[in-house]
Amino acid sequence: MNDIEKFWSALKTLKPDVECNVKDNILTEEDFNNNIEWITGKKEINSLDGGVIEQSITTTTCPYSEITWVKISEEMSKL
């Protein structure tokens, strides 16, 4: 299992329903703090094809107390 797979596996172990957008590998606390967009909501944007499309509302500050860099790194080290 490579590094990015380990991150996703660890994340889904801690909180299976969490949604995020990740840039590059998450190998350090700095990566955890800067390279993850946590999905906190959705907003509707018009489509020129008609209807509306859901776009993510994001934050780089992890909003979940059960997910920390320490817990993620612990889970990743088990893999």
Binding site: N2, D3, I4, E5, W8, K12, P16, D17, V18, E19, C20, N21, V22, K23, D24, N25, E37, I39, K42, I45, N46, S47, L48, D49, G51, I53, E54, Q55, S56, T58
Partner: protein, 209 residues
């Protein structure tokens, strides 16, 4: 004895081969397009002449001369079930409201799925940093492109091209966004399932109408 004005009687018999010297530019007319001229007194360095009407010319950029190019080696992955952007492209400013913008996007990608569900891409247009619309979202689950997980977990190449007519001369850019059908999936852009990646290229090019 010099004279300042030719007598009218001399016009019909004037021998042009006897004329010498330089005519001051202020005494020269601007030759219109209808007489084989340009109708112009100046242009813009590096640009070409183009017809702006049946009898008018102006300097302008050639098709493709106005373009932006972004390349990154960053890799992205998501399990978001709503669209989220990857790179932020440089803005391109159309020279005319009738201009078209051709967008090209290239990278490697992979989809890992726990089910038969799909990964999706969509295109979002931003005008002047404040007005947003999605384009071409008539595909599966409101997408422009849809991708099924590869059973062998291998990445494959993605080449995406589309044309838009933004009808503005304000700065425009096109975001590539991705999402998955459910949070148990993971969609990878600019990398395969093994985590190996390369370059992601995005080109926005103006085509003059």
């Amino acid at each position: 004895m010099p004279f300042t004005t030719l007598p009218t009687s001399a016009y019909s018999t004037l021998d042009a081969t006897k004329l010498t010297g330089t005519v001051a530019s202020g005494n020269l007319p601007t030759i219109p397009v209808t007489k084989g001229g340009t109708g112009l007194t100046s242009g813009t360095s590096g640009q070409f002449l183009k017809f702006t009407g049946s009898t008018t010319l102006a300097s302008g950029k050639s098709s493709g001369q106005n373009h932006t190019f972004n390349s990154v080696t960053s890799k992205y992955s998501t399990n978001s079930t709503s669209y989220v952007s990857i790179i932020t492209p440089t803005q391109i400013t159309p020279s005319s409201t009738s201009s078209h913008i051709l967008v090209r996007f290239y990278c490697s990608m992979a989809v890992l799925s726990n089910t038969s569900n799909l990964g999706h891409l969509a295109i979002q247009r931003e005008i002047n940093g404040s007005s947003y619309d999605y384009l071409y979202t008539g595909g599966q689950n409101s997408s422009t492109y849809t991708f099924k997980a590869d059973g062998n977990k291998q990445g494959y190449g993605l080449a995406l091209e589309f044309r838009d007519s933004p009808n503005t001369t304000l700065p425009v850019r096109y975001y590539i966004q991705h999402k998955t059908d459910n949070t148990g999936m993971t969609m990878y852009l600019n990398q395969n399932q093994g985590g190996q990646g390369g370059y992601m290229f995005l080109i926005q090019q103006e085509e003059l109408a």
